[in-house]
Structure formats: structure tokens, C-alpha cells
């Protein structure tokens, strides 16, 4: 039983999905099963995480076929970290989902909704855990198709259009990914990531491999919403149901970034990516533009959900910047930010979900006065907002600290200044929300607007407190990110 854990990780949610679909007459039961499978999945994740925390790895042969012929699942400190993010966020978002989903989704569609959620979840877990390139593509498609359905179920009519937009962009992305994988297969005859890593050096000086690299990077960049390939993201996050936005913002782009890291560092290797192809000179300008332009755009948004979506694009910029520094410290900062930003942004979108639950929408006009009428929700928003800005004692600060250390290590003083400038932009857009919620009179002063129900508030606060806990006692996350960076870089790492 115990040695089957890696397979179980995907199997739990994947098998629960069709089961839940059958329960369209009992939405509560559908929810309960989804909740149970998410928690079971988290338990498995924790076991896996604990097993590889020392920097080792855990290989599992699907169906008993030995790699490189069969599909191999391999868990190490890098993807266990991603599994932890997915597991944690979905386990916390599920208790939150029941009331939020009942408010936003038609009753007869709730079971379908949860089924799609489980599929998306299984897809993301699969991407992270598998050690097989083609398998990555398959799971990307599973999660993407399920996500399109989830986004399209948003109550706003524009949700369908934005799901379509996401579909087109996402499909282009995965197609590029597939082409890249195909090229690699032509050159090496293998799909196993670790086998690829061993065989690529022999053929790396060919245009086919370079083209494969380009296709893979562009394809994955579409999925992770790297500026300027981010256009699908603001709409998708803005019009999706609240719970979907929470889940996708915390996990979907993170998993894509993990895949990028896996290919750049483990499969192609540091020398090929950074010394031969000089990836950093492509990634860094895009990262910097991606930090500044969406941050400025966020300042001018009128809808809080959309504002946070633009902020997500900027945060992707931070993670890519860490990669582009081409150093162990930079990589570690990026990996750290995957987690810290996941809990921060999930907490923010949960608070927004609470506002939507009571107010029906989150334009700045509509949330006026929410500070007095929904004090707990807004307090959570402020704390998580501080983490987004990167104020000391929050999770966001821990990332900023390491990212800036890495920037200075590389000698890029102006970039460091720009990073701090962009956190001022973050302060500006969070302040806009705070000012609207606390210092403006509500338009419908008579309306009965109460605090969000406990079922929504408790999970929101759980994540909000997590941003503080991981900001104050950061030794755990810093250590885990360090181990993950060492695993990805392979060989002796010079810190």
C-alpha cells in the first residue's frame, strides 16, 4: 500500500471525478466526496513530502513497466513542493466552496462543477508528479479542459467568452508543448525526463533541439501567463466563479512555472539553457516588463478581482525574474515565491469571494463601506494585501528578501530598485481597495449587508494567518525551497 502512494496521489481525485458527476441530484453529497478526496490527497502529499524532504527522490513505475519504456512517476523535493501547494490550497478551498458555489452555480450543475474541479485538480497533480514528457502534455490537457468548463460556469455572461479565450490560448500553448516534446523524441527516442536529460547532451548542438527548446518555452510561457502572453488571464480570473479563481490563481500558473523550471534546469540543464542559449537575456526583460506594466495596469482597475488578476501577472514576473538571474539563490527565490504567492493570492481571492457572496460584485463602487459592514473579511484582505506588497513579517517579505539578495548577488542594482518600486505600485493598488472599503460611504446605506458566513470566513482566515505564520517562521519554507533548488540544479550547487 505505502509504496503505491505516488500513483494514489493522482488516482484519488481522478477516480472521484466521474463518481461525483453521477450525483447531480445530491449536490451536498457531491461536495462532501470532493472534500474528502481533496483531504485524502493532501494526506498523501504530506506523506510524499516528508519522504523526500531530505533531497532524495521516490520513483514509481506505472503498471510495473520499468522506465524509460513505461511511465515513471518521480517525486523529489521540487515537485513535492508543488504538490504541497496544490494539496494545501484545494484542502482549504473546499470547505469554503460549499456556500460560495451554492450561491454562484445553478443547483443542477453543482455536481458537474465539482467533477470538473476534481479533474482540474488531478490534472495539475499529474503534471507535477509525472516524470514523462508526453504524460505532462496529457495532464496539461486534462486540467486545461476542466478549467475551461469551470471558468465558463461563472455567473457573468462574459465568463463564456473569457473561457473561450483561455481555450484558444491554452490550446496554442499545449500544442507548442507537444511539438517541442515531439522534436525531443525524434532526437533522443525517449520521453522520460531523466532519460532525456542523460541523452540530450549528445545531440544538443542541433537546430532540432534548439527548436524544441523554443517551442517548449513559448508553449509553457503561454500557460504560465508570462508577459506578453498573459492576455487570457485577467478575463479568466475576473469572470470565473470565486472558488475557481482562488484555486486557479494559486495553482495553475505555479504548476506551469514548475514545468518550465523542470525543463530548463533538469532536462536541458543549466549550461544549455543559460550559457549556450542565454535564456536570461530573453527572460529578464520580459520579467521586468511583466512586473511593471501589469502592476501599473492593476492600479487603474476598477474591479477588485480584475485588479488582483493583473497583480498575478506581475507576480509571475517576479518568479521568472528569479529564474533569469541564473543562480541558485535566484532559483530558490522563485521556488519560494511559488508557495508564498500561492497562499497570499488565494487568501486575497477568498476575501474577495466573501465580498462577492454578500455584495454580488466587487467593483470599487460596490465595496464602499465594506470595512465597517464586513470587518473580518476586510481585515483578512488587508493582512494578505500586506503580504502581497511584501511588508516584513508576512510571507511576501520572505520572498522579496531572497529575490533581492539574488539580484544584488548578480550585481543588478537598478533591478533591485525597480523591484522595490514595483512593491510601491502594489501598495498603491491595495491602498485603492482599502480606501474604497474603509473611507467611502456605501451607496445603499440602508441595505442589510452582514459579515460573510463562518464557512467562508474560517478558510479565508486560515490562509490569511498562514501568510503571517510563513512570514514569521520562515525557516520551513526557506529550507524546503533550498532543497528543491538543489534537486533541480542537480550536481554540487554553489550558494
Amino acid at each position: 500500500m505505502f509504496e503505491q502512494l505516488p500513483a494514489l496521489q493522482v488516482a484519488i481525485t481522478l477516480t472521484a471525478a466521474p463518481l461525483v458527476m453521477l450525483l447531480w441530484k445530491a449536490p451536498r453529497l457531491a461536495w462532501a466526496i470532493t472534500l474528502a478526496s481533496c483531504w485524502a490527497s493532501l494526506a498523501v502529499t504530506l506523506a510524499l513530502f516528508g519522504a523526500v524532504a531530505d533531497g532524495g527522490s521516490w520513483s514509481y513505475e506505472m503498471g510495473g513497466w520499468a522506465p524509460p519504456w513505461g511511465i515513471e512517476y518521480r517525486v523529489d523535493a521540487a515537485n513535492a513542493w508543488i504538490l504541497l501547494i496544490i494539496g494545501l490550497v484545494s484542502a482549504i478551498v473546499m470547505p469554503y466552496a460549499r456556500e460560495s458555489v451554492e450561491r454562484e452555480i445553478a443547483r443542477d450543475k453543482i455536481a458537474l462543477f465539482y467533477s470538473a474541479f476534481l479533474l482540474a485538480n488531478a490534472g495539475l497533480i499529474g503534471i507535477a508528479i509525472t516524470g514523462d514528457a508526453f504524460n505532462i502534455f496529457v495532464f496539461f490537457e486534462i486540467s486545461a479542459l476542466a478549467s475551461y468548463a469551470l471558468i465558463a460556469m461563472g455567473s457573468d455572461r462574459r465568463a463564456v467568452l473569457s473561457a473561450y479565450q483561455y481555450l484558444v490560448m491554452g490550446t496554442v500553448g499545449t500544442t507548442f508543448l507537444l511539438i517541442g516534446i515531439g522534436f525531443l523524441y525524434i532526437m533522443t527516442g525517449t520521453l522520460n525526463l531523466y532519460d532525456l536529460a542523460a541523452r540530450l547532451p549528445e545531440v544538443s548542438d542541433t537546430n532540432t533541439v534548439r527548436a524544441a527548446f523554443a517551442f517548449l518555452v513559448v508553449g509553457i510561457s503561454l500557460k504560465l501567463a508570462l508577459f506578453p502572453l498573459h492576455l487570457w488571464l485577467p478575463n479568466a480570473y475576473s469572470y470565473a466563479p470565486s472558488m475557481v479563481t482562488v484555486f486557479l490563481s494559486a495553482t495553475a500558473t505555479k504548476v506551469a512555472i514548475y514545468v518550465l523550471l523542470r525543463f530548463i534546469y533538469s532536462v536541458f540543464g543549466f549550461e544549455f539553457s543559460f550559457e549556450e542559449l542565454s535564456m536570461q537575456w530573453v527572460l529578464m526583460p520580459l520579467a521586468l516588463l511583466g512586473i511593471v506594466i501589469p502592476s501599473v495596469a492593476a492600479v487603474f482597475q476598477d474591479d477588485v478581482k480584475r485588479l488582483l488578476a493583473y497583480s498575478s501577472v506581475a507576480q509571475v514576473g517576479y518568479m521568472i525574474l528569479g529564474v533569469s538571474l541564473a543562480s541558485a539563490l535566484g532559483l530558490m527565490a522563485s521556488i519560494l515565491h511559488l508557495f508564498n504567492h500561492a497562499i497570499t493570492k488565494a487568501a486575497l481571492f477568498m476575501a474577495v469571494g466573501c465580498l462577492v457572496y454578500r455584495l454580488g460584485g466587487v467593483s470599487l463602487r460596490r465595496i464602499a463601506g465594506a470595512g465597517q459592514r464586513m470587518p473580518w473579511t476586510m481585515a483578512a484582505f488587508v493582512i494578505a494585501g500586506l503580504s502581497l506588497i511584501g511588508v516584513p513579517l508576512t510571507a511576501g517579505f520572505v520572498t522579496k528578501w531572497h529575490l533581492l539578495q539574488a539580484t544584488l548577488e548578480a550585481g543588478y542594482w537598478p533591478v533591485a530598485l525597480l523591484l522595490l518600486g514595483s512593491s510601491l505600485l502594489a501598495a498603491m493598488y491595495i491602498w485603492k481597495v482599502v480606501e474604497a472599503a474603509y473611507f467611502r460611504e456605501p451607496e445603499d446605506a440602508g441595505a442589510d449587508v452582514r459579515e460573510a458566513p463562518l464557512a467562508l470566513l474560517v478558510p479565508t482566515w486560515a490562509l490569511t494567518l498562514a501568510t503571517l505564520v510563513f512570514g514569521i517562521w520562515a525557516a520551513f519554507s526557506v529550507g524546503a525551497a533550498r532543497t528543491a533548488a538543489e534537486v533541480l540544479l542537480g550536481r554540487g550547487v554553489a550558494w
Binding site: 511588508v391 516584513p392 513579517l393 533581492l404 544584488l408 533591485a416 522595490l420 525557516a475
Partner: protein
């Protein structure tokens, strides 16, 4: 009690006090009593640390470690000891004064006011006792955030506007420049601990020069031009806030940080090697002259005092940049001396407002006959700020001028003398007019009508405190001497 317990007690008292103040919001008399009691208890607990520091000990405590290499830790050294005693001691008088002022001026939201005052004092103490730059930075930011509601207290458009300038400049400079400087320091020195002699010595002077500029403009609370605008903007706050926070706790936290950075991060000897220490010196000299000239043109009494503060803060920045122990000692002493003088002046401005609702100097002709105690105290406070015997202010300026001589900056000596003349020009006329010019016809007669006793007594005490500092300068200098050696003098 152990060292750690004493440090935590000094930090916890104002915080717990703030909670108690909120808990007693329905019983105004009890609440105001709690406020004063908190201030007294806090002062006493800070005072417990004094004998140890005087004997050369450095009480220390580590609260927690964020991740290896970065911790929140405290260590009480002479400069921090003096700052903490100053802030907590003057809080007792300010708390009394604030009760009288808030009632006399019919301000609203007393509970919120007193509670945030407690949090501000908590963060000032945290700054004073910080063992490393990271801890200091955290409390520095809490101080900014906790004083924001105090500045915006009146809730009018003007108050919100002023508060936004306040928050924007202080947060902006600290997040953009100070944080970068701190992270760079950690990267370059591998530590952020405050150590006698500094941690940066041996670093390439070019990098050190940049770092110094980042620190000096990152510490927005020191109000170096052109980032001084937040201080006049903060004058929309009720006067007790201007008195304790914007003449003592907040602004002194800024120059305190400047001194800490200069003495314990850079080290006086290393500062001498840096090209920009001279640049900062001349910026400070410019600021102290320019702000004095601006102050002369202000008719609003509080605005005049605010620009005077901007000017006086630059004395202390200049003292740090004169790279002489004499001057640095003078700067540290000036934190105390200026505090007594300026808090008295603000208390007087508030008392005048409570008694007559007057804010403009040109309306105060002849007012000295109606409020003789207030204006006598104003006179003493002004003398202390100017630096005339028998007030404490003379000693800090004495050390400063000696330090400037020692370092060979004749121009700075001249600037200090000119600035003293300017101080006289803008601080003495209000007193002279109040006593010697006849009041307007409509206000003539009526005898003595001072502000409430709760206002008049504290302002008399701070004025006398300035006088007492003239005689206490020797022990103060002895205590502060321990800054450079690492052991008590």
C-alpha cells in the same frame, strides 16, 4: 527580573495599555486614568534598565528568528536607553496634557486617539532597543502606520490630505530606499547587527557611498530635504500628537536611526572614507538653513514649529556626518535637548488653541498678559531650542560646534552660528509680541485666563525639564559616551 523580561515588559506595557484603553472605552474617566497609568508604568520599567546600561552591561533578548541569519532581537545600548527614557518619560506629561487638550478642544474619538498613542510608543521603544537593523526597520514601519490614524484624526479633507502625504512619503522612502539599503547591507556584510565600530568597514568606499545615500534618504523620518514635506503635513493632527510624536518620538526615531546607522553600521572611521558623507553633511546644512528661513515666513504657529523641527533634525544628521565623536555625542545629546524645548513649544501652541482658538502668530499680540505661564514656558522652550544658557540646548550645540572645529569644517561652524541667529529671529518675536504689544481692543482686560490645569502643568514641567537638562548634561554625556567603546563610560 532578568534582562529579557525587563525588555519585553517595556515593550508590552504600552501595547497592553492600548488594549486596556480600548476595553475601557465606555468609561472615559477610567480610560484616561489607564492612559496615564500605562505611561507611568512604562517609564518605570524602562528606568529599571538604566543602572545596568550605565554599568556597561548590554541587556539583550532574542524574540524569534525568521530564518537563519535574520532575527528580531533586542539589545539596550546607551543611545537606545536615552531615547526610550525620553519617549516614555515625556509620554507621562503628554498623556496628562492630551486629556486636558482633547476635552478642552472638544475633539472626538478619544479612545482611538489614546490607543494609537500607546502603539506608537510601543514601536518607538522597539526602535530604541533594536539589536539589528531588521528589527529596527519593522518597528520603524509600525510607527509610521500607527501614527497615520493620529494624523488623520480630525477626518476632514485637509486632515486626510495631510495624512496621505505623511504616509506616502514615509512609507515610500522606507520601502524603496531603506529596505534596499538594508538588504544590500546584509548581502555585503553578512549581518545586520549593530556593533560598536560598525560592520561595513573594509567595504569598497564607492559602494559604501551609495549605501549611505540610500540610508539617509531611506530614513524619511529624519526629514532631510527634499523629503521633509511630511512633517509640516502632519501638523493637521491634534497638538499632543505634534508635541510628542512630531517633536519627539517619530522625528527622533528618524535621527536616532541615522545615528545608529552611522555609528553602529558604518562606524565613524569608515564614514570618514566615504565621499558621500560630506555630501550628506552639506545637504543637512542646507536643510537646516533653508528650513529656518521657511520657518520665519510661517504665520501659523504650528507650521513655524514644524519647520523649526525640520531644521533641528538636520543638526543631528549633520552631527553624524561630521565624523567626529564629539559631534556624534552632540547629536545624541541634541535628541534630548531639542525634545524638551520643542515639546514645550508645542504644548504652548496647543494651550493657546484650547484657551483662545488662535493658531496664527499675528493674532497673538498681547496674549502674554492673559496667559503669562504659557508664554513664560514658551520663552524657556525657545531658549532651549536656540541653545542659550541656562537651558540644556546649549550643551548639545556646544559639542556640535566643537566637533565641527575638530573635523575642520569651518563653513559648518559658520552655518551653525547663522542658524542660531535665525532660530532667535523666528522663536523670540512671538513671545515679545505677546508680552509687549497691547492686545486688540476687543480682547483687552479680563485678567488671567489660562488653558485648563491639565495643559498648563505639563508644559511648565517640560520647560523646567529643559532647565534641569542644563545641569544634567554631564551624566548624560557620560552615559552616551559608551556608544563608541561598547562599554559604559
Amino acid at each position: 527580573m532578568s534582562d529579557a523580561a525587563l525588555i519585553y515588559l517595556s515593550l508590552a506595557v504600552p501595547l497592553v495599555g492600548a488594549l486596556l484603553i480600548v476595553a475601557c472605552r465606555r468609561a472615559p474617566v477610567l480610560r484616561d486614568g489607564v492612559t496615564v497609568a500605562t505611561a507611568v508604568v512604562m517609564f518605570l520599567s524602562v528606568l529599571q534598565l538604566l543602572p545596568k546600561v550605565r554599568d556597561g552591561e548590554r541587556p539583550a533578548a532574542t524574540l524569534l528568528e525568521l530564518f537563519p541569519g535574520l532575527s528580531i532581537a533586542f539589545e539596550v545600548e546607551p543611545l537606545g536607553m536615552v531615547f526610550a527614557m525620553l519617549a516614555s518619560g515625556l509620554w507621562i506629561l503628554t498623556a496628562l496634557y492630551a486629556i486636558g487638550y482633547m476635552r478642552g478642544a472638544k475633539e472626538l474619538h478619544h479612545t482611538r486617539f489614546h490607543a494609537f498613542f500607546g502603539i506608537a510608543l510601543f514601536s518607538a521603544t522597539g526602535i530604541a532597543f533594536s539589536q539589528n537593523m531588521f528589527t529596527l526597520f519593522i518597528f520603524y514601519e509600525i510607527l509610521t502606520l500607527s501614527t497615520y490614524p493620529l494624523v488623520a484624526h480630525k477626518g476632514t479633507t485637509a486632515a486626510k490630505q495631510g495624512a496621505r502625504t505623511y504616509l506616502g512619503l514615509l512609507l515610500g522612502t522606507s520601502l524603496a530606499f531603506l529596505l534596499l539599503a538594508i538588504i544590500a547591507t546584509y548581502w555585503l556584510a553578512g549581518t545586520l547587527d549593530f556593533r560598536p565600530g560598525g560592520i561595513l568597514s573594509g567595504l569598497d568606499p564607492a559602494v559604501g557611498s551609495i549605501l549611505l545615500m540610500l540610508y539617509m534618504y531611506g530614513i524619511g523620518k529624519a526629514a532631510l530635504m527634499p523629503f521633509h514635506r511630511w512633517l509640516p503635513a502632519a501638523m493637521v493632527a491634534p497638538t499632543p500628537v505634534s508635541a510628542l510624536l512630531h517633536a519627539v518620538a517619530v522625528v527622533k526615531a528618524g535621527v536616532f536611526t541615522v545615528l545608529k546607522v552611522s555609528i553602529y553600521l558604518f562606524g565613524i572611521d569608515y564614514l570618514r572614507e566615504l565621499a558621500t558623507s560630506e555630501v550628506v553633511l552639506y545637504i543637512a546644512v542646507f536643510t537646516l538653513l533653508a528650513a529656518s528661513i521657511v520657518a520665519m515666513r510661517q504665520d501659523n504657529l504650528k507650521a513655524r514649529l514644524a519647520y523649526s523641527t525640520v531644521s533641528q533634525l538636520s543638526y543631528i544628521v549633520a552631527a553624524a556626518m561630521l565624523v567626529s565623536q564629539f559631534a556624534a555625542l552632540g547629536g545624541a545629546m541634541h535628541i534630548v535637548m531639542h525634545a524638551f524645548g520643542k515639546i514645550t513649544l508645542f504644548f504652548c501652541a496647543g494651550a493657546i488653541y484650547v484657551a483662545t482658538k488662535k493658531t496664527e502668530i499675528s493674532d497673538m499680540h498681547g496674549l502674554g498678559r492673559r496667559m503669562p505661564v504659557t508664554f513664560a514656558a514658551f520663552f524657556l522652550g525657545a531658549l532651549c531650542v536656540i541653545g542659550v544658557p541656562p537651558m540644556g540646548g546649549v550643551w548639545s550645540k556646544w559639542h556640535l560646534v566643537l566637533g565641527a572645529f575638530e573635523s575642520g569644517y569651518g563653513l559648518v561652524v559658520v552655518a551653525l552660528i547663522v542658524s542660531t541667529l535665525l532660530n532667535i529671529a523666528y522663536l523670540i518675536p512671538p513671545v515679545v509680541r505677546a508680552f509687549l504689544l497691547p492686545p486688540p481692543e476687543s480682547e483687552a482686560g479680563g485678567g488671567i485666563r489660562e488653558a485648563p490645569m491639565l495643559c498648563v502643568v505639563p508644559l511648565s514641567l517640560t520647560a523646567l525639564g529643559g532647565l534641569a537638562m542644563f545641569f544634567l548634561a554631564q551624566p548624560l554625556a557620560q552615559l552616551l559616551g559608551g556608544m563608541f567603546t561598547g562599554v559604559g563610560g
